[in-house]
Amino acid sequence: MTSSVKPLIPDDDAARLAAAFGRRGFMAGGVAGGLAATPLFAPGHAHAQAAAPGAEEITVDQARTAPIPIVLPSLGTGVAQQITDVISADLGNSGLFRPISATMPQGTPDFPTFKAMGARAVMTGRVMDQGSSLRVEFRLWDVPTGTQIQGTAYTAAAQDWRRIAHIIADVIYGRLLGEQGYFNSRIAYIARSGPRSHQVTRLAIMDQDGADSRYLTNGQWLTLMPRFNPSNSELAFLSYANYRPRVYLFNLSTGQQRILGDFSGISFAPRFSPDGSSVVLSVTRGGGSDIYVVDLATMARRQLTASGAIDTSPSFSPDGSQIVFNSDRGGAPQLYIMSASGGDAKRISYGHGNYGSPVWSPRGDLIAFARIANGSFSLGVMAPDGTGERILTEGFTVESPSFCPNGRVLAFCRQSSGGSNGAGFATGISTIDITGFHERALPAGSASDPAWSPLNK
């Protein structure tokens, strides 16, 4: 058996996550302890080494066409099996991996067997129940070369087992695709209940796979449009509290809410700047709405548009230099781009129908949007210069796109027609790859307005 055994460097993610887990807020589950990640060197290897080999010859585009076969043996029974299941679901649902279940190999995997199965990589590991905490040892092996490409032991509070599983899935994604994963992240959304004519709406949050959902507000007031700040500590959202619809900030550590600015019109459609220092939003005035940016340190506001038309749904480019927004200044709602300091705007949408809800990809290369034509919705992407428009999915209503942290997947709201009496109405959250594949509904129940978080800290 080949055994050019290479060491295992604890990757940067693991160290960063470990450092950050010590200061988790109540939203993360009220866990007292942190999460520690330590390196596991390959068997027989004596420490300190050059960088472990990646597998960056496999690109996301290639994996989309030919999902990476990865052997994911059960890590054990009970919580160990649950961790295995979450890792497998994360990787499988991405569409970029083909999980293969197998019996658990101990020690160095039997590479010829796995090679014969066509596997590209294999995970090994074990879970040690230490009472209130868990230790999860995880190794990732490259089957063609028979080398360990990652080895890390995670220790965390027992109730954090899902978090560990998502981190491991992210490490596998990162090591095999050369890009940061997105599994250790959350989705804020609006949970909906009651009759359609007057739905009860609650601000809610869940893991990106739909697990561990919880309400943040009690449903007293109509609540819409949550957005995460870049440091994952705060949500901006629209609340109709006291029948004055305004943008509020919700602190995810303390649960405290505060109004953002004191605008005379309705303030809505907030989004944070990429550096988190400001929020851009829309404020109604007369028959239209203007776009403002509010500095969070000083609460000073600056008006960016004054077209007299409806200017709304602003979203920053990831470098913070530009803003894409929705405006009917030309007669019907279309997409425009302007400098982040305001000024002239250039229209970028020219397809059939009305456009709205633009959101700039964190990668910078795409703008996702909703399009409405002939009474039905489409969800699509285009380049920031308006070229290369592609429709990803269609439906009665598909809107509110939100990118996952690495820009490879969109969450969105899908609604079905109520028919003549409303009985057919259903609303839920789905995800779809930016190429239009792997659409799947998240188990979030009756919901809308998904907002994907940055990677958890």
């Binding site: 819409l224 449009m225 309705i266 109604t284 409806i310 749904s313 929705n326 709602p333 009496n421 109405f425």
Partner: protein
């Protein structure tokens, strides 16, 4: 607003009591019993003037029907100068959530401005928009959508 509402209801009860006095068939003694809606009430607005105007898709222009309704609302408001109202703009669900918040406000604003032009003191009027989140008709066909594109005047 609570006080204003109370004032309006109080006056309505008073008027109801007066009319009851003339009604020999009253035998419950309930001061609230009456034949029609209490003058100055929401129900009275609906019965007398109509509480809502409808709009075309993605439009906020007032049709002749809408203007006729608002004329009646203005006359009704002139009759009850103590009444404050809120105009809520609404949309069908064939627009995005965010755009529809602004479109609903634009519709409410169109009704607001018309009432002001007809002499209603702007201090008696407020506007709000619910976008597509408070549909009058729960369905999704042209009949439902046409009802859901509206501005609804409500006594505060």
């Amino acid at each position: 607003m609570k006080l204003k509402l109370f004032g309006a209801v109080g006056m309505a009860l008073l008027l109801a009591a007066c009319s009851d006095h003339a009604n020999k068939n009253v035998n419950t003694g309930a001061a609230t019993q009456q034949v029609g809606p209490a003058p100055g009430s929401e129900a009275d607005l609906v019965a007398t003037a109509g509480d809502r105007v409808l709009f075309a898709f993605d439009k906020s222009g007032l049709s002749d029907d809408a203007k006729a309704t608002l004329d009646k609302q203005a006359a009704w408001l002139a009759k009850y100068p103590q009444v404050h109202v809120q105009i809520a703009g609404n949309c069908d669900d064939r627009g995005t959530e965010e755009y529809n918040i602004a479109l609903g406000e634009r519709r409410a604003n169109a009704a607001h401005d018309y009432l002001v032009a007809k002499g209603v003191d702007a201090s008696r009027l407020t506007t709000i928009s619910y976008g597509k989140d408070r549909p009058t008709a729960p369905g999704d066909d042209e009949s439902a959508w046409s009802q859901n594109r509206n501005a609804i005047t409500a006594v505060q």
